[in-house]
Symmetry: C2
Subunit: 516 residues, 2 copies
């Protein structure tokens, strides 16, 4: 269904300038939401859920497959049996108290700094896809160039607040050294905030060293600049790789997402509220551990959350229970006073078809009503995360802009003036030429670039393209209009030197043996 297979043309500065002028690439500020939240639990149900989670932490315990963490917990007075840590609710509550409820993300372009937590929300692209659907809609393994293209798109799309990290896995570089190139690509192609690889403790240290080069080592001490993600293994297990990476981030005072990886019904009970009770226990155990590592370190209540089809065992997206669980998790995170992350715009479809649209919009709308602070996987995710679609990436980003607009709520500043216009126009008239309309039409109603609302005749005249085809053409245009926000020459050189040194030190041949 591809209209054209030509590659993005190399165009001159003039053409790029024209394309740039046609669109505003300025990043939207961090969303400050005003729409009321959807809170399905009353105070008693929140306390019931909290009590169940605390009961699990105290009596079932959490496995930390990591000698350092076990020592840390013993030192904190927790009961440890083999690898299982039993966490007293008093200790957990005491520890999570020092997690900052709000902080500011600092980007290398200070105009892209982001207040974070409470009513603020940010949209972050998907990461971790082993495949992409490329500009020709071909599903294949990605390269560093593909990754760079996604970082460029994340840089340009106004509702995306981060360039993330390995949006797609660059298979053309040895896995053992990949984190260095991924980090450099995030830093180089965008001046928004980004994410840091947590594929091993040492890799995390490399990322943080590169952040220290970009921002200054002292600066990191007081300024969150990067986000690491640590996945748990539900039910109730944290492993050494993730905990080691967590320690690296916490020690440098950089935010970590504490993310149980939940496939509802497979690694949780097959029921909404009990699944959240388990997930909540898991998140709390990691959040508490961040404060054992460093009191006051920024940490984010996270999770990856899917429900499993009991027919096939496959994870599903866009189902009603995912929405409900997100709404409940939001309530728990606010109960504990901790910012939280969820996953937006998820899809399980194999192509960018209507299924992908329904799933993504259902997930995004539920997250927005739930009040998620860190809206991860907000662009490109399809096929249960197995591929990132270039077409879906730009459409999702526009959906984020629409969700943003909705969450801002209703403005009343022109109410009296506009109601007066009703008298001007009177019954049977129309408003298109009225001064209030002329003054307000640009901001009044969102006009999507990627949705076609023309008549079928107009649409046919323009080639009869579906949204996948239109989005691919749009993506080509964007990439042609890209302008690099140049790194300072000295910083760029220092980053390249660091990468060169580390690549000499890390054997590329170990690629396949390294845990990933």
């Amino acid at each position: 269904m591809i209209a054209t297979t030509e590659k993005p043309a190399r165009r001159g500065r003039g053409a790029r300038k024209t394309a740039r002028q046609a669109r505003d690439f300025t990043m939207l500020p961090a969303l400050k939401r005003k729409l009321p939240l959807t809170e399905p639990m009353d105070a008693e149900q929140i306390e019931r859920l909290d009590a169940a989670s605390m009961h699990i932490l105290e009596n079932v315990g959490v496995v930390f497959r990591d000698p350092i963490a076990l020592d840390d917990w013993r030192r904190m007075g927790a009961r440890v049996m083999d690898e299982t840590v039993f966490l007293d609710r008093g200790l957990v509550r005491e520890l999570i108290k020092t997690i900052p409820e709000t902080f500011t993300y600092h980007a290398r372009n200070p105009q892209n700094n982001l207040p974070f937590g409470r009513d603020h929300a940010i949209f972050v692209p998907m990461t971790g896809a082993p495949f992409l659907r490329d500009l020709d809609d071909v599903r294949r393994n990605p390269t560093l160039e593909d990754l760079a293209n996604f970082h460029k798109l994340a840089h340009m799309l106004p509702a995306l607040h981060s360039s993330a990290h390995h949006i797609v896995e660059p298979y053309d570089h040895p896995i053992s050294q990949r984190h260095l190139r991924i980090t450099y690509s995030s830093m180089k192609h965008s001046d928004k905030t980004f994410m840091g690889m947590t594929t091993s403790p040492r890799n995390a240290e490399d990322v943080l060293d590169m952040c220290a080069i970009l921002f200054g080592a002292d600066y990191l001490e007081d300024h969150p600049v990067v986000t690491g993600n640590c996945n748990g293994n539900s039910p109730l297990v944290w492993d050494e790789t993730m905990l080691g990476a967590m320690r690296a981030f916490c020690r440098r005072n950089q935010p970590v997402l504490c993310s149980p990886f939940v496939l509802g019904g497979a690694n949780t009970p097959a029921s909404v509220a009990p699944a959240v009770a388990q997930l909540n226990a898991e998140a709390l155990s990691a959040l508490a551990y961040t404060q054992v590592i460093r009191k006051g370190a920024p940490a984010i209540y996270g999770h990856y959350l899917s429900t499993v089809s009991m027919k096939s065992g496959a994870p599903m997206a866009g189902t009603p229970e995912i929405g409900l669980m997100n709404m409940m998790i939001g309530q728990m995170a606010r109960y504990y006073g901790v910012p939280w992350r969820s996953s937006a715009n998820l899809g399980g479809a194999k192509t960018f078809d209507a299924q992908a649209g329904y799933e993504s919009a259902s997930t995004l709308m539920a997250l927005q009503m739930a009040g998620t602070n860190y809206m991860w996987h907000a662009a490109g995710w399809n096929e249960a995360g197995m591929h990132c679609s270039m077409a879906k990436f730009v459409v999702d980003a526009e959906q984020c802009a629409m969700a943003y607009r909705m969450a801002e709520g209703v403005r009343w500043d022109d109410f009296d003036e506009a109601v007066a216009a009703v008298a001007d126009i009177g019954p049977g008239g129309h408003y298109l030429g009225h001064p209030h309309t002329l003054e307000n039409f640009q901001r009044a109603f969102f006009m999507p670039d990627l949705f076609d609302n023309n008549s079928i005749e107009q649409w046919q005249t323009e080639g009869g393209l579906d949204v996948n085809e239109r989005a691919l053409a749009y993506t080509r245009d964007l990439l042609n209009a890209y302008e690099e926000p140049k790194l300072e020459a000295g910083v760029d050189e220092a980053l390249r030197d660091y990468i060169a040194r580390r690549e000499r030190e890390i054997p590329a041949a170990d690629a396949l043996n390294q845990e990933y």
Copy 2:
């Protein structure tokens, strides 16, 4: 992208029975929602909006292009100048007080009766499409047979609560007589509730006469059995055709939707809150008139609501402002104590592509959060209502089932039992074989029939079909499994006699001259 072009095969009773046994076609009861509503306005803003609407009714006035209505209003003491009626807020409030906040829809199968209003919601298919996308994904003018197929699907799909009326326009029958065949098709192919044509006052009388044959004339007096829709011409105009049809429905005590037809920015001010203020005034003027016609007659606060692209003038679907306006309208309807209707699952796409999915899901989710009682256009709507898609019809119906599930909220009945399962399984285990899972997996997490969540390999093995292709195959299967809920022979004969008589009386040749 069609996998097969073969027509639905004629199959024997055995095959139909097998297909039926595989799926449960039992209608879901009217949804009783438990999820909290999203209410963007505080009490002061609701009163500000109410005051603005009342100011419009008192000072700008509403045009009733209908001598009978103008006489009625004069009789009620309203100031009438030419065709403009100025409605005092006291009179409006007094009149709308007698609109029932709740009532029960009665279907010819009493098991399909529907409590309606307040927390109850029902899903009703789209209507009025001049084209369909058929089982071969061909866009063409519909026939009575196509309409019958949609009525059959509406009958079978559990989350649809009504067979509606002219889901598609049957072009193979003279327009002047079409309302008779449409009504008969709704009544014959489904035993759920349905809608009644309002294309002229006389057509409405025909529909109501047919309802009297189906249910008994006395029965109608105390039992809502059918719904009529009366569109307004925004801004602030009601015409003779609609008002005449409204009188027919109200006199027989049958519910009417009072639906301003709003293209935000074109026939309202270009701003969210002022557009709702105007729409609210329009709806109130018609709601008040229903009570002039007959005190206590059931009436529903309605509207068709789109925003207009200020680039092209085209109506848009799935935009954030439509969501916000719906949430506000819900608050106003509840403020007045009147049930309300909105439009779900709208799409502006020309094919059943990802755009259609995003738009539909965004609209549906917003409506669900807004607490809409009568979710019209909930299946099939695409291309801004210009076509009804057979594929989208069944996918939308499944989306309604998912929205239904979400709106039911969280159940806690198995909470303690399932939390106990966490201790049984312990860290690192899995739940698939646990007794709680085995007992609960069927109801725990929604498993869509029409979304594919399998691996890409499995999906390819099964033909690599997108959701449009899968939905068309699914629709063929459904139609093959259809069993007609037979009308009682005497009633059927009386209906046919009525149609035959009226078709002798109504000249088919007038077809093109009749207002429609």
